[in-house]
Symmetry: C2
Subunit: 275 residues, 2 copies
Amino acid sequence: MSDTIMKDNSHPYVHGHSDRESERLHFQASKLAELLHDGTRYPPKSRVLEAACGVGAQTLILAQNSPGAEFLSVDISYGSLAQAKDRVLQEGITNVTFHQADVYDLPFKPETFDHIFICFLLEHLADPLLALISLKGILRPHGTITIIEGDHGSAFFHPDSPEAHRIIDCLVQLQRQGGGNALIGRELGHLMTDAGFTDVTVSPRQVYADQSRPESFDGVKKIFIAMVEGVCRQAIEEGLADKEMWEKGIRDLYRTTEQDGSFCYTFFKAVGRKE
Amino acid sequence: MSDTIMKDNSHPYVHGHSDRESERLHFQASKLAELLHDGTRYPPKSRVLEAACGVGAQTLILAQNSPGAEFLSVDISYGSLAQAKDRVLQEGITNVTFHQADVYDLPFKPETFDHIFICFLLEHLADPLLALISLKGILRPHGTITIIEGDHGSAFFHPDSPEAHRIIDCLVQLQRQGGGNALIGRELGHLMTDAGFTDVTVSPRQVYADQSRPESFDGVKKIFIAMVEGVCRQAIEEGLADKEMWEKGIRDLYRTTEQDGSFCYTFFKAVGRKE
């Protein structure tokens, strides 16, 4: 078990592993399923690797959208894998198997998979390019890789607020301190190309929330603001923000979800092919 | 002529009226025609007001996309109107007439128009809400209004650069000093609702440029960077930037259009209806 714990901590995950975070991830996945998974369907019998499935939030959607495909979902965390397995079982999904593995050192033979899918992984890695090159090795020729990442620098809103931008930037800085990159969405294109994939296409997928779609404000609160709130203690402890500034920033973020507010955020989806 | 000159200057236009700016506007309109005009087609015989047609950059596209509709394009500037007329004549377009008028004080009877179209106008006005209310008066019941605006705070790019953001912010500040709002895109939804329009829908239309579409980088240079460059002297004269910072910012903006760069910008299109 000590090995498990070590592995659990070997890639710092800025958002933590609380039940609340797990719920946030599932809520996010279900609300954004159409936006992010549009265009991602795998043929029957194809072998698809989902690298870093976490608590299985995207796994459910992947498996349900491509019921004939065979998914192998890996994660470094035994704890997250256990949650993912439970969830998949609850939903009666049978086309996924799980495996504990480190994305930098995957225990698969070259050219094992027809397709690879990654969501919200690269942003947490110190060397995303190395991870992509490693993944390319286990992809068969002409197989595809699909990557989805956010970009916290893409957030803008009304009313605008310097404090709100500053506390979002605290999350960006904390993620950077942990070796990650919360602005990675805008870099997917060149990372895929640098890793040697071809036919790379990047499609930004923008979320827009305003009063005409009240449920969109719910998403802003429960997905984005909740994520920022999750690093409050850490940001204050590390001196990136003081309590007053933090509270003003959070208040201003909630303010964007009132009557005359608006909120924009861009996810990026990139698809490439191995030659 | 003094009256003309007075009227020409009564709403400050931060981008100026040079030939270069006119060419930039036409280039922008043609490159973004599909992105921005998608969904905008008017039925034969419908009377459409284009408020603030400027040099006719959008007029050409409007008139060509809806050849049976009858456009009345107004602008406060006689100089711009003359250019717009020339351009429309050159293209052999016959379904547009032009009229000099102030958008705050339009010389039309109530309920004159079936539809109203505005592009890149509200960002320059000190009281966009008043302008919308005034426009609503001359729209017939059940008629539609379509508004397109940019939002300079939506720009993000790789490599990121504080200096690049600061010089973009100079343009935002200069526009604010002139009474305008370069961040108005994100506000279109509530402005339309506040003006009393119903069935308001806002669709953000995001431009994404990267190496997979080299012509997209051309657009970034000739539309966005050229626009920022256009206020260089004014920004430095007013002490918003020093020469060194400005040059670094411009270099960094061009840097985003190199091999591994990327650039995002969001336009907003809002459509509403008069009850």
